[in-house]
């Protein structure tokens, strides 16, 4: 099987610091790939390179076999790669529907849309409600509720639903459970599985080993700016993973490509 997203020899330098040092990466169709690594290992730079937030100095990226080079997150989005940032990138004072469609609003058909640029609110609200329901997410009472009136888990849910709704190729989740309580994390993990079951591959960046081991199909371990190894959760324990990540233990077949 061909990877849906593939990167080879990515290099990114910030001054004298090398954040990515000839790093490789692969995401297979329909899988949840967790990316773990110690702080400063360069995993967020890797994700930014894939989602278009930074442009790598060297190396190449392919999406579905086609070479790509994004210069902004907008372009990546246009290509079907959606990212849920740790900050969620939501406007707290705006409604759930407004947030879901931010930057890609629907306009009314006919003259109201073309000349008066009127938004098609009923369509947007219906779509938002459908997507949330589809993911078994919420018993929504008011889709026009401001996002800031939602709990942390609910906000995360809306952000994931937004990414899932529009991410036709890849969804990237950056620390989706970091700010959540135990119960809310649980709900979000289920949500991630739901999204995967709809066939969308997911890249999950997380520090939380139990969460990673619970949902990931494969785990990309990042160390010193490059991919150290890729493991399957069933083959190793969490302690092993942490040991590889921190360099306490020799990694299995240092360049095991999938």
């Amino acid at each position: 099987m061909e990877p849906i997203l593939k990167a080879r020899n990515l290099v990114k330098r910030y001054g004298r610091v090398v954040a990515l040092d000839h790093c490789d990466f692969e995401l297979m169709p329909g899988e949840i790939l967790a990316v773990i690594g110690d702080n400063g290992a360069g995993k967020s730079t890797l994700i930014k390179a894939i989602s278009g937030a930074v442009t790598p100095d060297e190396g190449e990226i392919w999406l579905e076999g086609r070479k790509i080079g994004f210069s902004s997150p907008l372009e990546a989005r246009g290509a079907g790669i959606e990212t849920v940032y740790q900050t969620l990138a939501m406007s707290p004072a705006l409604s759930i529907a407004d947030n879901m469609f931010m930057g890609r609003e629907l306009r009314k058909p006919g003259i109201m849309g073309s000349l008066f640029r009127q938004l098609d609110r009923p369509a947007m609200e219906k779509f938002a409600r459908d997507k949330l329901t589809e993911l078994g997410l919420m018993t929504i009472q008011n889709i026009n509720q401001a996002v800031e009136t939602l709990s942390g888990g609910q906000r995360q849910g809306v952000a994931v639903a937004r990414a899932a709704a529009f991410g036709s190729k890849v969804v990237i989740l950056d620390e989706p459970t970091a700010a959540l309580g135990v119960k809310e994390s649980r709900r979000v993990l289920e949500l991630i599985s739901d999204v995967r079951s709809r066939g969308i591959p997911i890249i999950l960046i997380s520090h939380n080993m139990p969460h990673v081991f619970e949902v990931a199909d494969r785990i990309h371990i990042h160390r010193l700016g490059r991919r150290l190894c890729v493991i399957k959760p069933g083959d190793y324990t969490m302690s092993d993973a942490v040991a590889f990540m921190t360099g306490a233990k020799e990694a299995p077949g240092a360049a095991e490509a999938a």
Binding site: T87, A93, M102, K183, M238, S239
Partner: protein, 356 residues
């Protein structure tokens, strides 16, 4: 971390039995709480209530003299300029910016409209267009400095305020163009001073311009993508950028729009004064910010409605005229308006706490 072993976690199973209510929107609210929510959804409600209360109080104190179509529409006439400039200010403040140069842009635009007609003999209608172009250009400079150079709006517009005002005085040589000359040679400049009556109520075209402008902007801000982007940029520019809003483009258009509206205000100003006066509108920036703040638009951006600004401007108008008719010392007006400003910001902070 390293001491953990196995992939099963006992703490997760401990919550299996508990209700999974994370995603439900529970509605447990007291009366105060639901009022807070109501205000959160309709921020212009507070100024509307204050406005109606103020009208009621002055009507009770002054009777028919105040509560007459003539006096009430007079208030509209008196706030027309502030209302229009306030609309420009609202759009900017919604993006968490501020525009101190609004009054100066207004006056310079009106001076351009007047001087292009009288100094260069251009057709008045064309001179009016030049005035609008001037406003748009000033706005574009503000917007570019804020959006592309990433300078703080307060600093940019503080500087532009001085620059535009100085340009205004240098260019006009502080010459007033008299009302009589304008009426004779370029009546289109006084267009917005024309009035019509409905019963005892007197409306100038300037008042109509203000009302139409506020309604149009209110539609644009609520029902177009651009309007939603203005709110998103004011709310959290980084989030908006990541969500796919072209933040700097939105900012530049906002400041250009502000400049255009100020030019419109300049035209209306000529109608109101009859003349073109380079010394007019010195306090338009403070007055517009006052209207915006009393109108419940948050200075931190992203919250409030332009209708609220209109109510805010009207509140100031009602207080000034009402207190004058009562014969109180004008300082009481300032004192009350000061209290209203602080009150409005306090309410804004309280409404924000609605976030669960």
């Amino acid at each position: 971390m390293a001491s953990e072993s196995g992939t099963t976690n006992s703490y997760e199973s401990a919550i299996k039995g508990s209700p999974d209510a994370v995603a439900e929107f529970t509605q447990r609210r007291s009366a105060v709480h639901s009022f807070q929510h109501l205000l959160h959804q309709t921020p212009s409600l507070v100024p509307l209530i204050v406005l109606l209360a103020a009208v009621a109080v002055f009507a009770a104190l002054l009777g028919a003299k105040f509560f007459s179509p003539f006096t009430l529409t007079l208030i509209l006439q008196q706030v027309a300029i502030t209302g229009i400039v306030g609309a420009a200010q609202s759009v900017v403040i919604l993006t968490a910016g501020i525009d101190l140069s609004v009054g100066a842009i207004m006056v310079l635009s009106s001076v351009v409209m007047g001087q292009f007609t009288f100094r260069y003999g251009l057709p008045p209608a064309f001179a009016v267009l030049c005035g609008f172009a001037c406003g748009a250009l000033m706005g574009f400079i503000n917007g570019t400095l804020v959006a592309r150079m990433k300078l703080p709006p307060f600093i940019v517009t503080l500087g532009m305020w001085q620059i535009v005002l100085a340009t205004n005085f240098l260019y006009s040589a502080n010459e007033t163009i008299r009302s009589q000359d304008i009426t004779e040679q370029a009546p289109i400049l006084q267009l917005f001073g024309e009035s019509f009556r409905i019963g005892g109520a007197v409306f100038t075209y300037g008042v109509v311009a203000m009302l139409v402008l506020v309604l149009v902007l209110s539609y644009v801000l609520r029902h177009t993508a651009w309007g939603r982007h203005v709110y998103a940029v004011g709310d959290d520019p980084d989030a908006a950028e990541l969500a796919g809003v072209q933040v700097s483009r939105v900012l530049v258009t906002v400041y250009v729009l502000s400049g255009l509206i100020c030019a419109l205000a300049g035209w209306v100003l000529i109608g109101r004064l009859g003349s073109v006066s380079p010394t007019a509108g010195q306090f338009a920036n403070i007055e517009s910010i006052t209207a915006v703040v009393i109108g419940g638009i948050s200075l931190f951006g992203g919250r409030g409605s332009i209708l609220g600004m209109l109510f805010g401007a009207l509140i100031v108008g009602v207080f000034s005229l009402g207190l004058k008719m009562l014969g109180t010392d004008p300082q009481w007006t300032y004192l009350l308006i000061g209290a209203l400003i602080i009150g409005a910001v306090a309410v804004d902070q309280w409404i924000r706490k609605v976030a669960a």
